[in-house]
């Protein structure tokens, strides 16, 4: 059964949410939306109905946030609460109804992105945690991890530096490049802390998108379809992540006396599953 991190909102029933809530997290420009597009197609081919949602897409607040960001007029607490309103609207009007109807909900970012942004801007982590206490605990969080050095060329040679993604509201005296480096570095540091705390499944986002997709696909198949692992199919050198206790994969692993194992997908090539543990350092950490 699904549960929230803290409070339950008035009128919110959680006992009949049969769908799966899957989060794809990661910083700006890491390729989340590309991956989500690929994942949606793939899941639909396999017969799953998919809802694709993401930050600032609510009917209530979405436009307001975009306008506010254009004018750069909102304070840090205000902007954070604006996002919280957007999130609550999507949770109540999109995510929960879709989960009740049995959809796989793929969300492009979740409360964790909002938390790291707020933390980097000096807001109190305990306060943020309480604000987002009504959020549902997802079935899995896949964190696309990249170092700043690998991130910069992607941003420079695609859409360029953006005011907010460079944290210019914080470091307004520096040039875009310096500000981007510093801001994204700070975000990644906070993401790493949350990765450990919230048990993100970390996916190295530096290889080409096709490789990243394969890894995500393997992890998501396990969450959605609960395909248990066969020990013989774990590739040498691969680091499988441990299934969450209580999930079908964990139960299956327990039956076989395995504490946690990699997975092989139905009808997929037997490429190794290389999801790293949350504690694995990035190439340019620090």
């Amino acid at each position: 059964m699904k549960e929230s991190y803290g409070v339950t909102l008035p009128g919110m029933r959680l006992n009949d949410l049969v769908g799966k809530l899957i989060v794809v997290e990661g910083t700006d420009g890491v390729g989340r939306s590309t991956q989500i597009t690929l994942l949606k197609d793939w899941l639909e081919q396999r017969g799953h109905a998919v809802l694709n949602t993401g930050l600032s897409r609510s009917g209530l607040v979405g436009k307001g946030i975009k306008r506010a960001k254009e004018g750069h007029t909102l304070g840090r607490i205000t902007l954070n609460l604006f996002y919280a309103t957007d999130f609550a609207d999507r949770l109540e009007h999109e995510i929960i109804p879709a989960l009740r109807a049995g959809f796989v909900v793929l969300t492009d970012r979740y409360i964790y992105s909002l938390m790291v942004r707020a933390m980097v801007r000096g807001l109190d982590i305990e306060w943020i945690r309480n604000v987002y206490g009504f959020a549902l605990k997802p079935d899995a969080v896949f964190y696309l991890r990249i170092g700043v050095d690998d991130l910069i060329p992607r941003v420079v040679f695609s859409r360029g530096f953006d005011y907010w993604e460079s944290g210019l509201d914080i470091h307004s005296t520096e040039d875009m490049y310096e500000s981007f480096r510093r801001y994204q570095g700070a975000l990644l540091e906070q993401f790493d802390k949350l990765a450990e705390e919230y048990k993100f499944k970390v996916v190295d986002a530096t290889p080409d998108p096709r490789k990243v997709f394969e890894k995500l696909r393997a992890g998501i198949a396990r969450v959605v379809e609960g395909e248990p692992a066969k020990p013989s199919e774990i590739a040498e050198g691969a680091v499988p992540f441990a299934p969450e206790p209580g999930t079908p994969a964990a139960e299956a692993a327990k039956d076989k006396g395995e504490p946690g194992a990699g997975a092989k997908l139905k009808g997929e090539p037997s490429s190794p599953v290389e999801l790293e543990s949350a504690a694995a350092p990035a190439s340019d950490a620090g």
Binding site: L60, G64, R67, R76, I77, T78, A84, T85, W127, N130
Partner: protein
């Protein structure tokens, strides 16, 4: 990030609370006049937040898009904007700031809508603690009687019609405001609200208010005088 009670500013913050028809706005207006005539730099902080937040709140209300949760959060956003852009800078500059309604209005309304009391209190913990928070206590019947003469019909959210308490707006308003009064009464000891008996003559209430305010201004050395 400073929490409720942690802020230290040269200015002073006086706020009024109470249900509709308690007479709090009239009292605040009279206090404003008096402070200005005494030469203090005093600013009346209205709920005029940035257009962006205001537009969203208006749209949500007009189209009835708001649930108890989003009603609460959009008002917290609006209030945060007012605190960050208006109240804090004014208090830093040494002004006397007057607010018609403050966080206690949100606590009363949101808890009456079913939100978890500690969650809502923590949500608003970025707010500056007022120098004095006046609560204008009035029996529900008296306030309804006053409102009846003054205006026609209640608005959807104001009457708590989103909660399905009653199909009749008057009855819904009565039940919802009753819940709000209960919440205010709980907050009197919790937040040390200064209670004014709002059934007294207007002049008597204002006299009490001025005495309380005056006692807080005597110790304030860095207040601005009006230009």
């Amino acid at each position: 990030m400073k929490r409720y009670g942690d802020h230290r500013f040269p200015g002073r913050l006086f706020i009024v609370e109470g249900i509709d028809g308690s007479g709090k706005s009239t009292q605040l207006m009279l206090l404003h006049r008096w402070l200005r005539s005494e030469g203090y730099g005093v600013v009346f902080s209205e709920w005029n937040s940035s257009m962006v937040v205001k537009d969203t709140t208006k749209r949500g209300k007009k189209r009835k898009l708001l649930t108890p949760a989003t009603f609460c959060l959009i008002h917290a956003t609006d209030f945060a904007d007012r605190v960050e852009r208006n109240i804090i800078p004014l208090l830093k500059a040494g002004a006397i700031v007057l607010c018609d309604r403050y966080i206690y209005t949100a606590f009363a309304r949101d808890v009456a809508r079913g939100l978890h009391p500690p969650w809502v209190r923590d949500l608003y913990s970025f707010a500056v603690k007022p120098t004095v928070a006046f609560y204008f206590r009035v029996p529900l019947e008296v306030s309804i009687e006053r409102l009846h003469g003054a205006r026609a019909g209640f608005k959807f959210y104001e009457a708590g019609l989103d909660l399905g308490l009653s199909e009749d707006p008057d009855e819904s308003f009565r039940v919802f405001q009753g819940r709000i009064v209960d919440e205010y009464e709980k907050m009197v000891p919790e937040f040390g609200l200064t209670v004014i008996d709002a059934t007294q003559p207007i002049e008597a209430q204002q006299e009490q208010m001025r005495q309380v305010v005056l006692s807080k201004l005597e110790k304030a050395k860095q207040l601005r005088v009006a230009p």
